[in-house]
């Protein structure tokens, strides 16, 4: 079995390519399953926080609710507004959705990481690809020919560009400590001396990371691009059916991916005592996901200008301070 999936270190030939495709499909199916139940988990958690029960009709305990929702979206009519820019309107959700799956290629799920690549530029790859989603969002907002969508798309652009910077800068601290951009190496560095997860030395970096990640994911309190009470549904107001599902899917895959990234960078990835690595990873990721949902049930929404001011005047200076402090400390302790 291990031999079958050892295409990582081999030259590319027909068999290796086939194995690669099979591996990718397995990861894709796995993530789809995870995302389906992430949505279920969100609805249950928020339901409990709001004195409600949450979904409980479809299947036992409502476990089939998300599946039913996805099926419904898939068989719905795919409406293209008459005055929309048709071609761009059609491909925008796909543009938003592709990178969300591609970033998962570098996340090490467990110590053996059989399906994912131990790329030497893993962090850079993640940041670069996740920034591509914004193109799909802006194009979708623009092509819909709807004023709410347009404002939603523009807000999204402003927000994502602003928060990419502190997000990347906060992770630079970890990269400095680990001395590598390789996510596997980062986890291994946390397992070695002095046996401490990077959340401890990088606590400031982690706080910046989690705030920027929430903004990057367009989640409350930074869910301006899709602010329901102002913009109806933001950039995907005009979308229906499976194109709408693509946007939602991209959003939830990113929740998972960002949680996985946070786990890997700050909480030692798969490392942990007693339990198997993949279980540790799953537990840590679930805690991250729960945190995002918890914040969503608790916070009101911040305003656009406040959001941008916060990024440029608070988070970016702080992340520079964090970076410099980390570098100095590392030099002194060497």
């Amino acid at each position: 079995m291990a031999d079958f999936f050892s295409w990582v270190d081999k030259p590319l030939d027909g068999m290796a390519f086939l194995n690669m495709v099979i591996g990718a499909v397995i990861v894709l199916a796995f993530i789809l399953g995870v995302v389906t139940y992430t949505i279920y988990f969100e609805r249950k958690v928020i339901g409990w926080m709001q004195w409600r029960i949450g979904p409980n009709r479809v299947g036992p305990l409502g476990l089939l609710q998300s599946i039913a929702d996805v099926l419904k979206l898939l068989i719905k009519e795919d409406i293209v507004p008459a005055k929309a820019d048709r071609n761009i309107f059609l491909i925008a959700p796909i543009l938003a959705f592709f990178p969300s799956f591609m970033v998962l290629a570098v996340i090490p799920f467990s110590a053996t990481h059989i399906f994912t690549a131990a790329s030497n530029v893993g962090v850079l790859y993640y940041i670069a690809l996740s920034a591509m989603t914004i193109i799909g969002v802006v194009l979708g907002g623009w092509a819909s020919n709807n004023k709410y969508s347009l404002i939603g798309g523009m807000r999204s652009a402003a927000q994502m560009i602003s928060y990419e910077v502190p997000l990347a800068m906060s992770m630079l601290g970890v990269i400095l400590l680990a001395g590598s951009l390789n996510l596997v190496k980062i986890v291994e560095a946390q397992q070695a001396f002095p046996y401490v997860w990077y959340v401890v030395p990088q606590i400031l970096g982690f706080i910046i990371f989690i705030i920027s990640a929430t903004a990057e994911l367009n989640r409350t309190p930074f869910d301006l691009p899709e602010a329901e009470s102002e913009l109806v549904a933001g950039y995907f107001t005009e979308y229906s059916g499976f194109r709408f599902a693509f946007y939602m899917l991209a959003e939830y895959v990113y929740v998972f991916a960002m949680s996985a990234l946070g786990t890997t960078m700050y909480f030692g990835g798969w490392s942990g005592p007693f339990l198997p690595g993949w279980l540790w990873f799953a537990i840590k990721v679930s805690c991250f996901i729960f945190f995002f949902f918890w914040v969503r049930a608790t916070m009101p929404r911040i305003r656009t200008d406040q959001l941008l001011t916060f990024a440029w005047k608070v988070l970016i200076p702080l992340s520079v301070v964090n970076l410099v402090a980390t570098a100095v400390l590392k030099y002194l302790l060497k």
Binding site: Q50, A227, S229, R301, I302, R303, T304
Partner: protein, 367 residues
């Protein structure tokens, strides 16, 4: 490269929009995210209540008032029966007066709970909405037991109220009061201290007392500017002079003050309910009134402190059983007048915050 051509965007917010609280339409001109010009368009819910009233006997008008400010139907009932009773100089039984005060104040509380929930929902927080509605539901249940309706009560009559409290009702309300008081501690803890919430409402939508008076504003919108004016105190009607309660006034007249006024006024309403429950005597709930109610010829105006401001009823009578003309001074409609001025230069997000804090009910704006 030439200069980039920019233009203002004309947007229709509503009539179908998640946070215009009904069918209000605001035509806004936005420059980027800033509002250059805003023009509220009303009338989508106009049902001609005032015209219809001209063909109705006075008692028949009462269910129509239920549908004006549908969040506080009891208060509207009180306005019309109070106006007719004053015009006819009727005496109504003590117990009926107390029952009226209890339901009106509970209704005020209930309406403010809707404000709390929907306002926070407008600002993007989902959870307070469900918490507020869970408590509101308890009051709705009380009203349901009292008069068989959850929203449009048609409870008061000229000369009293239709039903006496059913067995155990007053005791249940008595138990509800301390429970509700505790809930406010929770609301304050969950919402009032939240930094993001404060950022969104402090200093937003500010106006001063003079502006408010010039625009004939009343209720919380006026009081939030620091002007002490509450008809329950300043021109006591019914039996409000027997209760000990404070009029809540703000300082700055911004959205935060209006929010705080709502919160504190709910506690004052509880105080009144508590005192009324202590003092309520036994006796009939319906006084002796003529079979057919005829207001003596003349013109009458009387107002009560509605949930959203001065709710006035102006009756022109020719001595018949139907009014010649009936005019409601609807506070939501009057308070809405200032909106275009408040919105100028604000961002889209502030539009929602300001509109929500002015606290209008479209049923009352359009009547």
């Amino acid at each position: 490269m030439g200069e980039i051509r920019t233009e203002e965007l004309l947007m229709n917010i509503g009539p179908q929009h998640p946070s215009t609280h009904g069918v209000l339409r605001v035509v806004v001109k936005v420059d980027g995210e800033l509002i250059v010009d805003a023009d509220p368009v009303v009338g989508y819910l106009h049902r001609g209540t005032e015209k219809l009233a001209e063909d109705l006997q006075y008692t028949q008008i009462i269910p129509y008032t239920d549908r004006m400010d549908y969040l506080s139907s009891m208060v509207n009932n009180h306005a019309i029966v109070n106006a007719v009773e004053k015009a006819m100089d009727l005496q109504i039984p003590e117990r009926a007066e107390y029952m009226r005060i209890i339901v009106v104040e509970l209704n005020r509380l209930m309406s403010h709970l809707v404000f709390l929930g929907t306002y926070l929902l407008d600002l993007g927080a989902m959870t307070p909405f469900l918490y507020a509605f869970a408590d509101r539901e308890k009051i709705v249940e009380f009203f349901n037991r009292l008069c068989g309706a959850r929203l449009t009560y048609n409870y008061m009559r000229i000369g009293g109220v239709k039903w006496d409290a059913p067995n155990g009702w007053l005791d249940d309300v008595r138990e509800f009061v301390p429970y509700m008081r505790k809930q406010f501690d929770m609301f304050h803890e969950l919402v009032t201290g939240n930094e993001i919430f404060l950022q969104r409402v402090k200093g937003i939508g500010q106006f001063d007392t003079e502006t408010a008076l010039n625009f004939a504003m009343s209720g919380i919108n006026l009081r939030s500017t620091g002007f002490n004016w509450d008809l329950r105190k300043n021109k006591p009607y019914s039996i409000y002079d027997r209760f000990d309660f404070d009029v809540i006034v703000g300082e700055n007249g911004d959205c935060f003050d209006r929010y705080m006024c709502h919160m504190k006024e709910m506690v004052e309403s509880l105080k009144i309910v508590e005192q009324a429950l202590e003092q309520i005597p036994e006796g009939p709930v319906m006084g002796k009134v003529p079979k057919i109610i005829r207001v003596p010829a003349g013109e009458y105006y009387s107002a009560i402190e509605g949930t959203r401001g001065e709710l006035g009823v102006y009756i022109v009578s020719e001595g018949k059983d139907k009014p010649y003309r009936l005019k409601f001074r609807r506070p939501s409609f009057v308070n809405l007048q200032l909106l275009p001025q408040l919105l100028k230069g604000q961002s889209m997000a502030n539009l929602i915050a300001i509109l929500g804090a002015v606290d209008i009910v479209l049923g009352e704006v359009d009547a």
